[in-house]
Amino acid sequence: MAKIISGREAAALVAPGSRLMVSGFLACGAPSWLIDCLVEAGIKDLHLIAISTDYDDRGIGRLITARAVKSCQVSHIGTNKTTQAQYKNQELEIEFVPQGILMERIRCHGAGLGGLFSPVGVGTPVAEGKETLTENGRTYILERPISADVALIKARKADTLGNLVYSKMARNSNPIMAMGAPITIVEVDEIVEPGQIDPEEVVTPGALVQYLVRKGA
């Protein structure tokens, strides 16, 4: 069951120094309004978990540009020169996680599992220091769950119970990050009454959602 709050109230739920998950892929499906509110609130020292850091001036990149992030787990920074500069200057710590395995590790936490054996990155720096399992001649490495204190995600529409539907490819990391933290805050374009979303169309059930913020509110 979700509570409707403002973007400012949402930002107050993110403590300085906390672990923050932010959804989206190259700013598509990113909670831009919540990011704006966070930047405005001046929250610092965040540990960020995201697919990429988007662009300098768009999506998650705004948190990087505002120097709100001190460390992160991301799969890619190639589209954001500010991230690359901060990384080079050692202002920003980065653990690179393969994109699909980032999703697996977050979902691993969300589904109450202790870890998974992944074939991804075997023989690469990603495998360093990780336990292995060999089965039928194939080697897998142990990947551990990733969780956050707060997850910020973006949906097209919610009902007041927190049931969510997305828009086309803006779905990307959203349904998975909804499982990644005890507090999931969803930026939505529209909030409707229960029953106005067909149960068949719900992608993220309300049990995963704590707060709803109308974009711009």
């Binding site: 069951m1 109450g112 009902d159 007041t160 229960p194 149960p199 719900v202 059930p205």
Partner: protein
């Protein structure tokens, strides 16, 4: 002594009082479904069925059953406004991930460590595990709903379960036709006794030591 139906209502009603507004709840088949008939006024509770719904509603009117809407026992249900359907993989992710506030399950035995056995009597009955093992490790509160003794009057609440376990150290609350017992790190704490019986009878019908560390209430 109460008859079977009266016991069922007594247990269901008492467990329902544990629910809070907005809770997501999974009820096992059999006795636990009675809980749904006693939701306290003024609160909204959402029922999950592990085969793929959040927001299960009551049984439909006769003739209005939909074969694609059934609970975990195979009985016809409805969907409330605001329900959602999902596959079994997502359903159990919600359960194990701690997103379900309470599960209520029947039990063959429970014990002082919070162990529960409800899936197998070796050499006799082996219906199987179903979703129970996932539910007991995943739900935030695990309530055992059971008759206090078996049909021969033998205790089902023991120092240590003798049947194969469904889950180890998982039960948080035991509600029977005789008592409400909390599982604590120190052991089983007797909280309430049904108004038709008394503390001595409860103690005599229980196969484990019961701690009485405060006033014992009554329920009916």
């Amino acid at each position: 002594m109460l008859d079977r139906d009266a016991k069922r209502v007594l247990i269901g009603k008492r467990i329902a009082q544990e629910l809070k507004d907005g809770d997501y709840v999974n009820l096992g088949i059999g006795l636990p479904v009675e809980v749904a008939n006693h939701i306290p006024e003024g609160i909204r509770v959402f029922f999950q069925s592990e085969n793929g719904i959040l927001g299960a509603g009551p049984a439909p009117l006769p003739g209005q059953e939909d074969p694609d809407l059934i609970n975990a026992g195979g009985g016809a249900i409805t969907a409330i406004p605001g329900a959602s359907y999902f596959d079994s993989f997502i359903s159990f992710s919600l359960i194990r991930g701690g997103h379900i506030n309470m599960t209520v399950l029947g039990a063959l035995q429970v014990d002082a460590q919070g162990n529960i056995a409800n899936w197998s009597i070796p050499g006799k009955l082996v219906p199987g595990i179903g979703g129970a093992m996932d539910l007991v490790v995943g739900a935030r509160q695990v309530v055992a709903a059971m008759e206090h003794t078996d049909k021969d009057g033998n205790p089902k609440i023991l120092e240590a379960c003798t049947l194969p376990l469904t889950g180890a150290g998982v039960v948080t609350l035991i509600v029977t036709d005789m008592a409400v017992i909390r599982v604590t790190p120190a052991g089983l704490s007797l909280c309430e006794v049904a108004s038709w019986t008394n503390v001595d009878d409860v103690v005599a019908s229980t196969g484990a030591r019961l701690l009485i560390d405060g006033p014992v209430g009554t329920f009916s």
